[in-house]
Amino acid sequence: MNINATLIGQTIAFAVFVWFCMKYVWPPMMQALNDRQKKIADGLAAADRASTDLELAQQKAAGELREAKEQAQAIIEQANRRSVQIVEEAKNQAREEGERLKAAAQADIELEANRAREALRAQVAVLAVTGAEKILGQQIDQAANSKLIDQLAAEL
């Protein structure tokens, strides 16, 4: 337990170890620790940013979805209107066609009726003359009476 030169030896050893520690141990360790601290801070900031970004993206997505829905709605409405219009048009066309056909049929009928009337008139004239001949029992002068008979036939 004497105080001796060990004191000096220990002082020198102490100085050497402290110097070594100061030069080669402390700076790289602190560097690593500070770097990690920065990394973690950056990571947290990035995570914050990412969550904000996500929120923005969600909002945007929701907006676009709504827009798309509105557009779809508009398209459907337009289609509905168009279909109604087409049906309307088809109805009108059909009606017109029907009327045209009806008119044609009526014209045909009239024509046929006129024709039949003409024919009947002609036959009635003949019948009337024949009947009159029979009744009169004599030959009526065809030529003298034809004017009268035509007149009669025109009156029928």
């Binding site: 001796n4 060990t6 000096i8 220990q10 002082t11 520690c21 690593a32």
Partner: protein
Amino acid sequence: MASENPTATEYIVHHLQNLTYGKLPEGFERYDGSIVTEPTWTIAHGAAEAKAMGFWAIHLDSMFWSILLGAIFVILFRSVAKKATSGVPGGLQNAIETVIEMVDGSVKDTFHGKSGLIAPLALTIFVWVFLMNLMDLVPVDWIPGLSALLGIPYMKVVPSTDPNITLGMSLSVFLLVIFYSIKIKGIGGFVGELTLHPFNSPNKVVQAILVPFNFLLEFVTLVAKPISLGLRLFGNMYAGELLFILIALIGYLQLPLHFGWAVFHILVITLQAYIFMTLTIVYLSMAHEDH
């Protein structure tokens, strides 16, 4: 071993004797009765011879273990520092970082100046003193017994039970305190701090009379710092070591006792290393404070 079957006293004294290398003066009677005919460099046998060697002797065991443990500290920390990554740290790096952050936190709590020295100094002190104290947990007969087989008569394995070691460190700290006091405050500031407090007076004559008293008080305060710093560590570790030796004397009953004391001693070891470090930081930050 001093003898084949040592008595309890011999056993204890033997365990507390450092392996001292020094010069024996002429005419000194050695342990075996022979007389030294001319001054001889040799290894001391027993306390009387170590004492006769005077100041210029060295404790080979303390120096060996102290430097070995210091080397373990720097090699371990350097190997981690070289591979230190700012990514995910491995197990060893994690452990070392924990120590470094603890030391860094202590330094930042106490010391508010800017110095590249204090934090590494505190780290060195903490880890080195911790390792030196840790040698106390090696059962007291293992290494001395092994070295006795190798022909080394004495082996004290706990460097911090040698006052030379603890005072060597505390005096280094003291030199740094004085260096920084003068560097920060100037010679005048440092002398003023020693002589103008705690008693002062606006009257110049009265102040001059008070100077010696102030100096006496402040000088004792100043010198008490390194002495108490070194002796506190030494005293704690020496007492712990002595208890281990005493426990080792009592036969088989020593096992539970030894275990109990060792568990308690883990606390002492860490605490003393921490106290030494913290006080170093405190003293150095006081040296940096300008009044």
